[in-house]
């Protein structure tokens, strides 16, 4: 059998059920014991009653006999009656018998004379009565006989006149009436039934109230010797019974009385007691259930509260329990409350930390993204617009470099606070570094993004006080408005970034709205990037060479290698279009390597005095593998290092001078020449000239273009040339386009020129021709 233990969801129910079950079992046991005791007691008392009733009944039977005998004797000794019998006066006898029958309440009265002559009612009974005085055993004066299926008690009284002249015989039919009279004499509700023998051993109830049964037969048989109590299973139910065989004319009785006591009748007096026990048990059970519930409630209630509170805590909501009492549960509840408060505090702190920037306390990028997502969802449902403002401090790195990080951090905090103040209607967050972003969402004025950006820019015009320093700073702002500029957070943010990029491009310290063109440009850049990768693989690059004319030797002293991209669809793509992209994407490293290899290889075909100049971007220069790339190019081509000239711009120094200087020395040690390109346009060019002895300075074309018309330009050029001469460096003037410029440069003592005046950049196949007539052209 599969007995599953019940599972309780509530401790209260569990305790209630446990207690109530235990008490119920106890009560049921008590009730069962009580019932058993009642039954036993009932049975014993019925047994006792029956036995007593049996004795009483014997006594009653005897008394009835004596009473009948006395009645018969009264008649038989009546003088007149004796005279009638002695004289054979039958009419008188019959009359007297009828009279006595009525008076003594007997069924019939007879006189049997000495010769067996019977006087009395005729019928089957008379024949038995006639034999009775002669058949009855000596000394007995009564007997029970069965005549024609009826049971009769016969009483004998001799008629003495004075010698015996006959007998008076009374016959009393033992029927239901007689039995009921008997039943009434008992203290308990007995049922007496007269039984008669069928001659065999079977006994039958005269009134058919009891079915013939072997148990009844056995009981009667056993009762002949001693009184026996039996339990009978009768059709009317179980009953205790005793039998009294009634003495007949022979040893074998012809009739018996069965006295029974139905069990249900026996148990009837106990019904109130049983009902009382049941009622008391029921009331007890109800009280126990109620009590158990109350007790369980008392114990489990606070625990259930604790459970609910713990679950609430688990789900993240605040859970406070009303503390009752000072017992363990009370203390536990108090501890729980403290713990709950602690957990929530820590949780909110952790959440805050996770979603906020530690430095400024502003929402961080994660928070920003979530807020943006939610705002987009909200706007999608209720309408309105979203504005994303991306802000980037201009030249913040300089602050860190010059004033130190603590001041930089203070500046970031101060700006965060200022932004929060400026945009109380928006969500200001710090995305990282010197990047901030503001979200405006919902029903804001259409001009609000612009006004906000402008107010921020205006605010930034004042120097910001950070950590005691007055710092002049500026910010560039890119603005994208959703949903027009982007359906989702990624797109909006990307477009705001593009706008910011544009703002930076447009000279910083301004704000720009996103325009679709920006996106197109960005896409174009991405396509170029992809095409560049393809180009590197497919060898779509070629080198053009622009001659550098040596004014002193009056001949071509070298070529500057200029990379050209022959795009299969777009044709030749100018370097200004793809080099920044190549630099942004890092592809410049690979392109630069190819340029280096190709330039060295080509230069091997030129006369020995002709050098090749290769432009190296700051990105290439920062690459630690750069020296080995140069070495490989020289080794593969077999070019003498002194014929290779590497051109760098001042921007290579922006990341710090030390490593750059070391690298330059390394190249110099290899015998390679180093030229400083675009001199004069940078930041502090002069200091660089002191830090490294460049082989050549290339004077930026902006000076050369106006050299003939602008005296100050001429003066600058002169100063540069003088400075280079003093530092023992060569000079090359770029962008020389006419002879006027040439003459001026020649006059100032410039060593080399390059520009359209002499030659545009040419393909490598035309270099040989240039070398042949180059001198004459320059002249």
């Amino acid at each position: 059998m599969d007995l599953r233990r019940p599972r309780f969801r509530h401790l209260r129910t569990k305790l209630s059920v446990l207690y109530a079950s235990l008490f119920a079992v106890t009560l049921v046991l008590l009730a069962v014991v009580a019932q058993a005791m009642i039954w036993t007691h009932a049975r014993d008392s019925v047994r006792q009653e029956l036995i007593t009733s049996g004795s009483v009944y014997d006594r009653i039977w005897l008394l009835r006999s004596q009473s009948l005998i006395a009645s018969a004797d009264l008649l038989s000794r009546d003088f007149g009656f004796r005279a009638a019998v002695a004289s054979g006066d039958r009419p008188t006898i019959a009359s007297a018998l009828a009279n006595i029958s009525h008076r003594a309440e007997v069924t019939a009265a007879f006189v049997v004379e000495q010769d067996g002559q019977v006087t009395g009612p005729s019928g089957a009974l008379a024949a038995t009565v006639a034999r009775f005085p002669f058949a009855v055993p000596n000394g007995r004066r009564d007997a029970v006989v069965v005549v024609a299926g009826q049971v009769y008690r016969l009483i004998l009284s001799p008629v003495m006149a004075p010698t015996q002249v006959g007998w008076v015989v009374f016959a009393v039919r033992l029927d239901g009436t007689e039995m009921h009279a008997l039943e009434r004499l008992s203290a308990i509700p007995l049922i007496a039934t007269i039984m008669r023998s069928d001659g065999a051993k079977r006994w039958h109830a005269a009134d058919r109230s009891v079915e013939s049964d072997a148990a009844v037969d056995d009981l009667v048989e056993a009762s002949r010797s001693s009184r026996t109590l039996a339990t009978l299973n009768l059709s009317t139910g179980r009953a205790f019974a005793i039998a009294k065989p009634l003495a007949g004319l022979t040893d074998r009785p012809q009739a018996a009385i069965l006295i029974r006591y139905p069990l249900n009748a026996a148990l009837t007096p106990y019904l109130p007691l049983q009902a009382g026990i049941a009622l008391a048990g029921l009331i007890g059970l109800i009280l126990v259930v109620l009590g158990s519930r109350r007790l369980a409630q008392g114990i489990a209630g606070p625990i259930a509260n604790l459970d609910a509170a713990a679950r609430a805590l688990e789900e993240g909501s605040h859970a406070h329990i009303v503390v009752k009492g000072r017992d363990e549960i009370g203390r536990l509840a108090a501890s729980f409350n403290r713990m709950s408060v602690g957990i929530l505090e820590r949780e909110s702190r952790i959440t805050h930390l996770a979603l906020h920037d530690v430095l400024t306390g502003l929402p961080n990028r994660t928070y920003f993204r979530e807020s943006l997502d939610q705002a987009i969802l909200q706007v999608g449902r209720t309408g309105g617009a979203i504005a994303v403002l991306c802000l980037d401090l201009d030249r913040f790195k300089g602050v860190n470099d010059t004033l130190g990080h603590p001041v930089g951090d203070a500046l970031l905090k101060a700006i965060g606070a200022m932004l929060s103040e400026s945009a109380p209607d928006g969500l200001v967050s710090r995305l990282g570094g010197d990047e901030y972003a503001i979200i405006l969402s919902g029903q804001f004025d259409a001009d609000r993004p612009r006004a906000l950006a402008q107010s921020i820019l205006d605010m930034m015009r004042q120097a910001v006080v950070a950590d005691g320093h007055q710092i002049a700073t500026a910010v560039s702002i890119g603005i994208a408005i959703g949903p027009a500029d982007g359906k989702d957070a990624d797109e909006l943010l990307k477009n705001a970034d593009l706008a910011l990029y544009l703002a930076k491009e447009d000279g910083r310290g301004v704000f720009r709205f996103f325009e679709p063109a920006l996106d197109a440009a960005a896409r174009w850049r991405r396509q170029v990037e992809l095409d560049l990768r393809e180009a590197i693989q497919a060898g779509q690059f070629v080198l053009n060479y622009q001659p550098v004319f040596d004014l002193k030797a009056d001949r071509i002293g070298g070529f500057e290698a200029l990379v050209r991209w022959h795009h299969p669809e777009r044709g030749v793509v100018p370097p200004v279009e793809f080099i920044p992209i190549a630099e942004d994407t890092g592809l410049i490293i690979a392109i630069g390597e190819w340029v280096m290899q190709e330039a060295c290889r080509q230069a091997m075909h030129w006369p020995e005095h002709v050098r090749v100049a290769v432009n190296v971007s700051p990105l290439q220069f920062r690459n630690t593998g750069f020296p080995s790339i140069v070495l490989q190019a020289l080794a593969h081509s077999g070019l003498a290092p002194s014929r290779l000239e590497i051109e760098i711009t001042e921007s290579v120094f922006l990341d710090g001078e030390g490593p750059v200087i070391a690298l330059l020395h390394k190249l110099r040690a290899m015998g390679i020449r180093v030229a400083l390109d675009d001199f004069g346009t940078g930041y502090s060019s002069l200091s660089y000239l002191r830090s490294f002895p460049f082989d050549k300075i290339k004077i930026d074309r902006s000076f050369i273009t106006s050299i003939a018309s602008d005296p100050s330009a001429a003066a600058i050029v002169r100063a540069i040339v003088d400075l280079a001469t003093a530092l023992d460096m060569e000079t090359t003037a770029e962008g020389v386009e006419d002879t006027g410029q040439l003459n001026m440069l020649r006059g100032e003592g410039c060593g080399n020129i390059q520009g359209y005046l002499f030659s545009r950049p040419v393909e490598s196949c035309r270099i040989a021709g240039l070398l042949e007539n180059g001198t004459s052209q320059a002249a």
Partner: protein, 199 residues
């Protein structure tokens, strides 16, 4: 059944006694069914040669100590029996017998009552006041009638020799008339026998 209750078993003892004339002595012992001598039984011998009875008198049955005394009185036919009351209480002597019905209503000591018994037979006596009182008047037509003594013995002389009938009456004998009879043959030398009553 009652007919077989009593049977006579005759044990004849030849007595070599000389007898004068035609008469002899008859001695009879009566024993009850229990084998013990039966006292108070009336033994009569009837023989054709018997002479008639003679009334001599007086015959009395007294009522004394609430009983009839004697219990059994043998009287010849025609005898008048007196029933004097010797008790201080009164008696009501009666008999419903066929031989003689009479009814002596309550009488006391001073009242004399007599009854004439003119037919032979047994007359049971009772007192209507006292059930326990019982007595018998045995009215006989033969002179040979006697009561057995305590040893159940009776002896009669002058019984004519020849065939006759012995009758024994006693109330305990369960036979019609409470009488058992047996034919006998009285020898000149006399006759002696023992009656054993059977059930």
């Amino acid at each position: 059944m009652y007919a077989s209750v009593l049977r006579l078993s005759l044990m004849i003892v030849a007595l070599a006694l000389p007898v004068a004339g035609q008469a002899a002595t008859v001695a009879i012992d009566v024993r009850g069914f229990d084998g013990k001598p039966l006292a108070g039984a009336v033994v009569t011998i009837e023989t054709p040669k018997a002479p008639g009875v003679t009334v001599r008198g007086p015959y009395m049955i007294e009522q004394r100590d609430i009983s009839f005394q004697p219990h059994v009185l043998i009287v010849p036919v025609g005898a008048t029996v007196g029933f004097p009351n010797r008790d201080r209480v009164r008696h009501h002597v009666y008999s419903f017998s066929k031989t003689k019905k009479f009814d002596l209503k309550l009488y006391g000591r001073e009242d004399a009552r007599t009854v004439l018994f003119d037919r032979p037979g047994v007359v049971p006596l009772g007192c209507n006041i006292h059930d326990s009182m019982s007595g018998f008047v045995f009215v006989t037509a033969t002179p040979f009638a006697a009561l057995t003594d305590q040893a159940g013995h009776v002896s009669m002389t002058g019984v004519p020799v020849g065939a006759g009938t012995v009758r024994v009456w006693h109330p305990s004998i369960r036979a019609p008339g409470s009488t058992a009879s047996q034919p006998i043959d009285v020898a000149a030398t006399g006759f002696a026998t023992t009656f054993v009553l059977h059930r």
